[in-house]
């Protein structure tokens, strides 16, 4: 195999596109997934399962709307449980996409190209799931619009000091920008699909979506500019969204929430879980559709390295909490730390340490980084860990705050679980549809890598 031109010698060695590929082969390979006449049986199974889970979500939410928040395990003092935990978890996952597409793009990290597309898609779907929870967690969801600043007959506005209002703006902005970013990125490929599609309906649908893309120099020029601008626009959002989400807790007075380290710590955690999720999805994907050539070991390794980095930041966050509790000398904080580690919820705490810190350290070993399925396992463990982290922060802090007389514990009811699992179903369903009908990897950008493999055809 040929040596790598040093312009792409980024994080590690190894090609970002296995040699021997031509424009045609790339285009063929990727577009065939979307354009294939018959859908593979495995897809149907996968989609079927996730669709059923999505129906479970529908049922759970229906039941919730019919009866009220009481169907969940919530109580006083624990006013937030699975609902906000899931929200934060999903938003976190929604970070990788934009990070990869935007920041890595600005950093000219070419290894991003083959994973950015579905990372972005994943982001959108994750944000969709996330957006669901702030809505359904309301006691009176039918007046959700009170949260938006609109002129009403009461001369009333939202209360802008409340972090929940900031959330509304942060998350919706993030969703919008990510959507635009993703769609703009799709344009050339949509055109490709339009041109390669055999059946007329497909031609028309892709055609409309392609918005008249003809690949002219002007198009390309405008496209590049727009894409870059959007990237610039998206970059601060990656940081802002989870920062704002963390304010929900940081601005409160509750021990375990009231912490200045939350913004950076949440963002890092978000990226951590985001990349974990990308790995969780990309490894089976590349295996099933035989995309090993496009999503190479190098991609997996790089992502693993990002995991190590962000994982360590998260670990630092945990350490900082312990330190501050001890150093700050606030009896409530100190009790909180004790309660997390040795209180009734100790299993949650220790397993999150296990999942997020200990498991992450395995990635130091190249032997592990280069074994996709081991990597996959670790990624899943990290996802679980990150969910537990939010659970511990939100629930355990609430169960025992200031007045022992009203201390109570929380346990998710069956409806809590149904909603959680259901949201995963929603996520996967959307993802399956995406895989089936849109190019999972950016064809256009992959083409731009072809030459580096010197497989260019004369």
């Amino acid at each position: 195999m040929t040596e790598i031109p040093e312009k792409t010698a980024s994080l590690s060695g190894g090609p970002v596109l296995e040699p021997g590929h031509t424009y045609r082969s790339v285009t063929e390979k990727i577009s065939s997934i979307a354009l294939a006449r018959r859908t593979p049986k495995e897809w149907w199974i996968g989609f079927g399962v996730s669709f059923l889970l999505m129906m479970l979500l529908l049922g759970a939410v229906g039941h919730l709307f019919m009866k009220g928040i009481g169907v969940w395990g919530l109580n006083i003092p624990v006013g937030w449980g699975f609902d906000i935990t899931n929200f934060v978890w999903w938003v976190g996952i929604g970070h990788a996409g934009t990070l990869i597409s935007a920041i890595l793009l600005l950093l000219r990290q070419e290894w991003r190209t083959s994973i950015n597309r579905f990372a972005e898609a994943m982001t959108l779907f994750a944000v969709a799931c996330a957006g669901l929870f702030p809505l359904i967690h309301l006691g009176r969801p039918w007046v959700f619009y009170f949260l938006f600043p609109y002129p009403d007959t009461m001369r009333l506005w939202p209360q802008f000091r409340s972090p929940l209002v900031w959330d509304v703006f942060a998350v919706s902005t993030y969703a919008t920008v990510s959507l635009l970013f993703w769609f703009v990125g799709l344009l050339p490929d949509l055109a490709t699909l339009r041109d390669r599609a055999k059946r007329r309906p497909a031609k028309i649908v892709y055609g409309i979506l392609a918005m008249g893309w003809r690949g002219s120099a002007t198009h390309w020029h405008r496209y590049e500019t727009a894409y870059l601008l959007l990237a610039g626009l998206a970059t601060p959002l990656v940081v802002s969204v989870h920062t704002v989400v963390s304010f929900d807790f940081a601005t409160s007075v509750i021990p375990g929430w009231h912490t200045t380290i939350f913004p950076p710590y949440f963002v890092a955690g978000a990226i951590y879980s985001g990349f974990a999720m990308v790995l969780t999805l990309s490894i089976p994907l590349r295996a099933f559709y035989g995309l090993e050539d496009f999503i190479t070991m190098r991609h997996l390794e790089n992502m693993a390295k990002v995991l190590i980095a962000t994982g360590l930041i998260v670990a630092y966050g945990y350490a900082a909490e312990l330190f501050m509790a001890w150093y700050g000398g606030n009896p409530y904080e100190q009790f909180l730390v004790k309660n997390r580690a040795f209180g009734p919820y100790w299993p949650a705490y220790w397993s999150l340490i296990l999942c997020n810190i200990v498991a992450g350290q395995l990635l130091w070993f190249k032997r592990i980084r280069t074994r996709p399925w081991v990597l996959w396992g670790i990624a899943i463990v990290i996802n679980v860990g990150m969910w537990l982290e939010r659970y511990v922060i939100i629930v355990v802090s609430l169960t025992r705050d200031f007045m022992p007389s009203i201390w109570r514990s929380f346990h998710g009811s069956r409806w809590d679980w149904a909603t959680f699992v259901g949201s995963i179903g929603l996520f996967l369903s959307l993802l399956f549809l995406f895989i089936r009908f849109l190019p999972v990897i950016s064809i256009a950008e992959m083409r731009s890598l072809v030459d580096e493999t010197e497989g260019r055809e004369e």
Partner: protein, 218 residues
């Protein structure tokens, strides 16, 4: 090979702008519906079991509001006259007017007349008539020229925005105490000055207190 005709480009552009206009239009429509009599019931005469005419009784006969709405000065509720009040006169005059049969019937069999509410605030609003009339707000300020209504209707939306418009600055509406029940009262030219004076005289609560949520909602 071409799927789309060139004209579709125009359609594409159009649809973008179009959607904007449609959105704006919907918002506008919603707003209109809020304001419309259909929601506010403003200027919609209400069907009543007996077509009672304030015009006749107030302007024509010169009855004072308090003759029927007895508790308006002392209670939150202005009071709907008991049938007996009607009968004080109608046992003497119009004793067999067809129109008044429901009244007599009610008095005979002791079953109340079911009037249709004209001014109906939501259950979560706690309005108190007595404090308003005691602090210089005339009946007509909210209920309009009832003395010109053959059948009663509502002249104001009773929306919170409307309440606030006065609670934020009551001065333009304040009257001398002796003019409260005067239907044809017209504010003097120097209402501004008068308002100032009366506001002091009545020592009204400050705006913060008057626009405080629990002033009306509990």
């Amino acid at each position: 090979m071409q799927i789309f005709h060139r004209s579709t480009n125009f359609l594409a552009k159009l649809s973008i702008f179009g959607s904007l206009f449609i959105a704006a239009g919907l918002a506008g429509a919603a707003w209109e519906i809020y304001q419309s009599p259909w929601t506010t019931q403003v200027n919609v005469p209400k069907e009543q079991p007996v077509p009672f005419s304030h015009e006749h009784h107030v302007r024509g006969l010169g009855l004072d509001c308090r003759y029927c709405h007895t508790s308006v000065e002392t209670s939150a509720f202005a009071g709907i006259p008991p049938v007996k009040t009607c009968m004080t006169c109608h046992s003497q005059i119009w004793t067999n007017a067809e129109m008044l049969e429901p009244v007599r019937a009610s008095y005979r069999n002791g079953r109340s007349i079911e009037w249709t509410r004209v001014h109906d605030l939501p259950q979560f609003v706690y309005f108190n008539h007595s404090i308003h009339v005691n602090k210089g707000i005339g009946c007509a300020s909210c209920h309009g020229r009832v003395d010109e209504m053959p059948i009663t209707w509502q002249v104001n939306s009773l929306y919170m925005r409307w309440c606030l418009s006065c609670h934020r600055d009551p001065k333009p509406f304040l009257r001398p105490r002796d003019q409260i029940f005067n239907m044809s009262y017209a504010p003097p030219a120097d209402q501004a000055a008068l308002g100032e004076r009366l506001a002091k005289e009545y020592h009204l609560l400050n705006t913060a207190q008057m626009t405080d949520c629990v002033t009306c909602h509990r």
